[in-house]
Amino acid sequence: MSVPIVELRSAVKEYVNGSLRVAALRGIDLRIDPGEYAVVMGASGSGKSTLLNLLGCLDHLSSGDYLLGGENISQFSDNQLSEIRSRRIGFIFQSYNLIPQLNVLENIEVPLFYQGIPEAHARTKAIALAERMGLADRLKHKPMELSGGQQQRVAIARSLVCDPLLMLADEPTGNLDTKTGNEILELIDELHAEGKTIVMVTHDDDIAGRAQRVVCFRDGQIISNDWNGAPKP
């Protein structure tokens, strides 16, 4: 059996709000294997965003363990987590989150920039990805000059640039019309078909239907964990 990409063991995340302790995750066990495409669903406040932040190494667990690709990163320092983010995680956001003063290529190169990869090498990689995303004629455009769909393609190219172990998408179609949203989802399907491991947060049941697995959250706990049509391994 292969090493799981994500393994959470009794993961707890609590926020201290004044004298009040709010539990966002109440002892979660979750395992995502290589090549899986998992959708996380739940009402707002159910803990799904917290999960995504934790998986993306933007936050620390209050207790429990997080193993990313077999490596326990629960006790990692801020710098180590930054390194992991730049090398192993690909983020796709609802609002694209491109840096406005940088052009398409420069935006795609940002994660490589923080890895200290030589510029020429980064440039080659960025151009290849941008072309793959159908942005060949937009390489020097600023985000503002692109449509929403194009911006999200740039963001996907950026998330792929470091060959991530885990891709995290936070409602990637939330700001797009249905047609463009579908194009993006097809692109994600394609990546899944290539063997990428993807975790996506969404509200949309139709989108959830595309995934192989749906994890539902309520009040910081997993209430269902279905493999669409496939048996639980």
Binding site: L58, N79, V110, P111, G116
Partner: protein, 427 residues
């Protein structure tokens, strides 16, 4: 762990600042004015300082200058032509006592300074004739341009020779070599034996006031020669009468062996003069004291200047901090994105510090350019001496950069310490 290379950081900073051209420009202005005013002030100050120092130094820091001063006698009406002869000032007796009682005295140079018409062929002008001794040249640090100065044999035999200032040589002799020519000083014939250097020399200072720079147009003759011809009575006819003055010595320069002995020598000279003169018909100028005063003045000046400079640079620094804080809060989301994509806290710190550094160094360089141009313009427009010194540039530039980096650290740290999740949520 790898970190970003500086040239990439610089390019990133340029790109980021490019977003806010007007704002960056205005921020730089603060630094530009700061650096520029510091450099300009230091240049003007240094120019004034050098000028004063030079003038004082020329008087000789080991010298004590004593000068006769005419004191109006009480009860002596100014229009009373009856008091025939005005006798005052330094006497041979004074000079003799100085030589005897002033400690560490190396040389005593007596001078008679009189105003006469001097004439070469048809050219004639009125100038100061200084009757003195051969060692005058050494004591006053003058240089010979041509020929020789007065010699001890001139002194001994009272030969009718003279040495003239270079300016006078130019005016009277215009192109002709003056050495060997005959110069008439108030109808007495003197042979020119040398030309003295082009050094600023006007009236000697009185009571610490400084004389104006100018070229030497005096005539120097042996004291003995003058005494043989004219004696101590100076007669000058003017309309409605004449001036009869009896002054034995107009000026006396006491040269002391070492600077540290000057103060003691001054005290001794003062005691002698006080004893010999009922009224204070003399003045004492001690260049060393003037130098000390000038240094003290300069120190004060530097403190004032330093405070102004510090204030202007701090103001510039605060301007930078202000702008960077605004920039950081506007770019909160960018910071969140960069953190999510793998930027370490230090990467964020360096990114913003580099922007600050770029603002301050480019502002500093522009400030230095203006700071160099302004003193030049001042000199060109007003003739006031200014001196551009390397330390002025270095201080202004490095202080401005240091100040801005210090003021840049806080915004940069604030950016770096943001919670990436919060920052990403920021609209």
């Amino acid at each position: 762990m790898k970190s970003m290379r500086p040239e990439r950081l610089v390019r990133l900073a340029i790109k980021n600042l490019g977003q806010y051209k007007l704002r960056a420009g205005l921020t730089m202005l603060g630094i530009i004015f700061g650096v520029c005013s510091v450099v300009a002030m230091l240049s003007v100050g240094e120019g004034a300082n050098r000028e004063i120092q030079e003038k004082i130094q020329r008087m000789g820091s080991q010298n004590i200058l004593i000068k006769s001063v005419k004191v109006p006698k009480e009860g002596d009406a100014p229009d009373s032509k009856r008091s025939m002869i005005a006798a005052y000032g330094l006497t041979y007796e004074d000079a003799q006592q100085f030589s005897q009682y002033v400690p560490n005295l190396e040389a005593s140079t007596p001078m008679k300074v009189l105003r006469y018409d001097v004439q070469y062929k048809a050219r004639k002008l009125q100038t100061d004739v200084i009757a003195t001794t051969p060692w005058f040249l050494r004591v006053q640090h003058y240089r010979m341009v041509r020929g020789r100065f007065l010699t001890s044999s001139d002194m001994e035999y009272g030969t009718p020779v003279c040495v003239i200032g270079s300016r006078l040589a130019r005016i009277l002799f215009a192109g002709v070599d003056p050495v060997g020519k005959t110069l008439n000083i108030d109808r007495d014939a003197y042979t020119v034996v040398g030309v003295i250097g082009d050094i600023a020399q006007g009236e000697l200072p009185t009571q610490g006031e400084l004389w104006l720079a100018g070229e030497n147009q005096n005539v120097y003759i042996p004291l003995r020669t003058y005494l043989n011809k004219r004696g101590d009575l100076f007669v000058q006819l003017s309309e409605g009468g004449g001036v009869f003055e009896k002054i034995e010595l107009h000026e006396l320069i006491l040269s002391i062996d070492k600077q540290e002995n000057v103060t003691r020598a001054v005290d001794a000279a003062r005691r002698i003069l006080r004893k010999n003169h009922k009224v204070e018909d003399y003045s004492i100028v001690v260049p060393l004291e003037l130098i000390r005063q000038a240094r003290e003045t300069r120190r004060l000046f530097n403190i004032v200047l330093g405070s102004i400079a510090a204030i202007s640079l701090i103001v510039g620094g605060i301007g930078i901090m202000n702008i960077m804080l605004a920039t950081v809060s506007e770019r909160t989301r960018e910071i969140g994105i960069r953190r999510a994509l793998g930027a370490r806290r230090s990467d964020i710190v360096f990114q913003f510090l580099m922007e600050t550094l770029l603002l301050s160094t480019s502002g500093g360089v522009i400030g230095l350019i203006f700071g160099a141009l302004i003193p030049m313009a001042i000199t060109a427009a007003t003739g006031v001496k200014t001196v551009l010194t390397f330390p002025a540039f270095a201080i202004a530039f490095s202080v401005s950069v240091t100040v801005s980096v210090i003021f840049g650290i806080y915004p940069a740290r604030r950016a770096a310490l943001m919670d990436p999740i919060e920052a990403l949520r920021h609209e």
